[in-house]
């Protein structure tokens, strides 16, 4: 762990990604403090105003302060990211570990089911799930979570299978450790490296997918200040009010970029093969 922090600090790229991510998190957590106005507060006299000292990033068609919405949007995006990825990652961890550890029939069954979901293109699967559940924030998170499950399952499964190659696992079996404890104590901690990398990458994927769904009018719904929603709504105005699109896009790009930076360098840091 210490070594890990050390390496992260030394890796400037990863560190800047990490700091960027922290910034987004801080903005999200302290949104009510940072944002000058509520995210849904409309100043109907000030629709589509350019950035000014009163409205840092300008206003949208309802006269809402774009800055405030972006700040609150960070909450939505992070929430979607964290919960959706949380769902996918935990489900993937669960199924992947079982699949990879026990192999045999149960593995076959789990993997065939995952294949089924994997065979659906991501967006279409998310679309279908949302159509079933109804478009809103919660269901978007569930849908993205389900979409990510097969990816995580596969990743975890193959990580588990490679951990199983290690003699420390055989050694635990030889000692007589119960399979459940083997999974908890020996397998799970040792697959964390690729898992965490995948989590950071999936986080950015989730935020992007949310934006894409909102863009299609599914997913998070206005007046919820999701960046995807803002982006979708502002497309019509971007010509004469470019700030309405510029800032949401900027926010998305910045966040995804930071997550990717972090994920990318975590991959380098955590990958023992790349050490030296």
């Amino acid at each position: 762990m210490k070594e890990f922090v050390q390496r992260l600090i030394e890796d400037k790229v990863g560190l800047s990604g990490f700091i960027g991510m922290l910034i987004v998190i801080i903005i999200a957590v302290f949104a009510p403090v940072i944002a000058p106005y509520g995210p849904e507060k409309m100043f109907t006299e000030h629709t589509l105003e350019a950035p000014s000292s009163q409205f840092l990033f300008g206003t949208d068609e309802f006269g809402r302060d774009i800055f405030s919405r972006i700040v609150f949007g960070a909450q939505v995006s992070l929430k979607v990211g964290l919960i959706a990825v949380g769902i996918g990652a935990l489900a993937g961890l669960f199924f992947g570990v079982i699949s990879g550890y026990f192999q045999g029939k149960i593995d076959q069954i789990i993997m065939r089911v995952m294949d089924v979901f994997f065979a659906f293109p991501d967006i279409l699967l998310a679309l279908t799930i949302i159509a079933v559940l109804g478009p809103n924030l919660r269901n978007t998170m569930i849908a993205i979570g389900i979409v990510f499950t097969p990816v995580f399952t596969r990743l975890v499964r193959s990580a588990v299978m490679s951990v199983k190659e290690n003699e420390y696992l055989t050694s635990a079996v030889a000692i007589g450790v119960h399979p459940v404890k083997i999974i908890i104590r020996h397998i799970t901690p040792n697959i964390m490296a690729p898992f965490i990398v995948q989590v950071t990458l999936a986080l950015s994927g989730a935020i992007l997918t949310e934006a894409a769904l909102s863009f299609l009018g599914l997913g998070v719904q206005p007046p919820n200040p999701s960046w995807g929603v803002m982006l979708n709504a502002s497309r019509t105005y971007m010509e004469f009010a470019p700030w309405t699109i510029l800032f949401p896009v900027g926010a998305i790009v910045f966040t995804i970029f930071c997550f990717n930076l972090l994920g990318d360098s975590l991959r380098d840091i955590l990958d023992p093969k790349l050490k030296q």
């Binding site: 420390y168 055989t170 050694s171 030889a174 000692i175 007589g176 020996h186 040792n190």
Partner: protein, 341 residues
């Protein structure tokens, strides 16, 4: 002989790994990794298994440990056939038979502290309360020549030799009767290897351990074992007391193997038997005697029949037609093996 002197008996042990193939991944053949092996191990003795890579040494060890389920045969530990026990029941018996692995780098969970690594076996078998367990851990770590302070470290902070000591401590803390050592010193440098070997010998005396020592290093085997079994292609070729085997190897394979060891004596130039060819593919072994294709003394019958494993002299078993009464004449007829300086 009195049965009670044997802690472990292996009878007709077989382990076949299926080869999958065909359209529906059905089993189309088998790798006969261990093919009908029998031996008995006396209490507190060291029995070594030697042989070339892929001959089934590890598989034998792992099957005895039930890390692989045996295809056939029985393993009798303390009078009980452990192959027949249900898995759950056997789990608690595992403390009696332990294994130490080859690779000091991958045989310890990198994310556990040494203390937890050593505590785990005790806790798993509920041998003691936590306090008592900690005391046992501290005692054990010192027994293997490390210090209490090092308990707080992670495996990667240790050298290969030290790690192997930790592995040993982890296996021995359960006070097992039988310990299977699978190439436990092969990965170590000479100077470290001697340290570990000394430790193993010391611990064997101290705890009255029985060792099954798996290795391909004939020098190390010679140093450590009471008896040695030579394996080839999943079968036992020869089994004898160490001195007998090294001085008077019967099987042509054993002879070749022993002659191939680089000598360490400047003045002695020994005659080497250079075997031709490679070890055959265990999924497609030759008919009859598995060694016949490389055997300098093979004759026609070797292809026809698999030689049986016979006790030629007291405690000296060999599987070779040359030692079959029917073919004794072949032995005389054969020239001295082709020699190279």
């Amino acid at each position: 002989m009195n049965d009670s002197t044997y802690v472990l008996e292996v009878n007709h042990l077989k382990k076949y790994f299926p080869i999958k193939g065909g359209v529906f991944k059905r089993t189309v053949g088998h790798v006969k990794a261990v093919d009908d092996i029998s031996f008995k191990v006396k209490e507190t003795e060291t029995l070594s298994l030697v042989g070339e890579s892929g001959c089934g040494k590890s598989t034998t060890g792992r099957t005895i440990m039930r890390l692989y389920e045996a295809t056939d045969g029985e393993v009798i530990l303390n009078g009980e056939n452990i192959m027949e026990l249900p898995k759950n029941k056997f789990r608690s018996l595992r403390r009696n038979i332990q294994m130490i692995f080859q690779d000091p780098f991958s045989s310890l969970n990198p994310r556990m502290k040494v203390r937890d690594l050593l505590l785990e076996p005790i806790m798993t078998h509920k041998l003691a309360g936590r306090k008592e367990a900690l005391r046992m851990v501290e005692e054990m770590i010192e027994t293997v020549g490390l210090s209490k302070e090092q308990l707080n470290r992670y495996p990667h902070e240790f050298s290969g030799g030290q790690r192997q000591r930790i592995s040993i401590a982890r296996a021995l803390i359960l006070k097992p009767k039988v310990v299977i050592l699978d190439e436990s010193v092969s990965a170590l440098d000479v100077s470290i290897q001697s340290q570990i070997l000394n430790l193993l010998i010391k611990l064997q005396k101290e705890f009255d351990l029985t060792y099954i020592f798996i290795s391909h290093d004939l020098n190390v085997v010679k140093h450590l074992s009471d008896r040695v079994g030579v394996m080839y292609l999943g079968q036992m070729m020869e089994l004898a007391e160490t001195d007998v085997l090294y001085e008077n190897p019967m099987h042509p394979y054993t002879q070749a193997l022993l002659s191939a060891i680089p000598s360490l004596d400047v003045d002695e130039k020994k005659e080497r038997i250079i075997l031709q060819g490679d070890v055959p593919d265990p999924s497609d072994p030759p008919s009859g005697c598995p060694f016949r294709l490389r055997c300098p003394m093979a004759f026609d019958h070797c292809a026809k029949e698999k030689p049986s494993f016979l006790e030629k002299e007291e405690g000296h078993w060999v599987a070779c037609h040359l030692f079959d009464e029917r073919f004794e004449h072949q032995r005389e007829k054969q020239q001295q093996p082709e020699t190279v300086n």
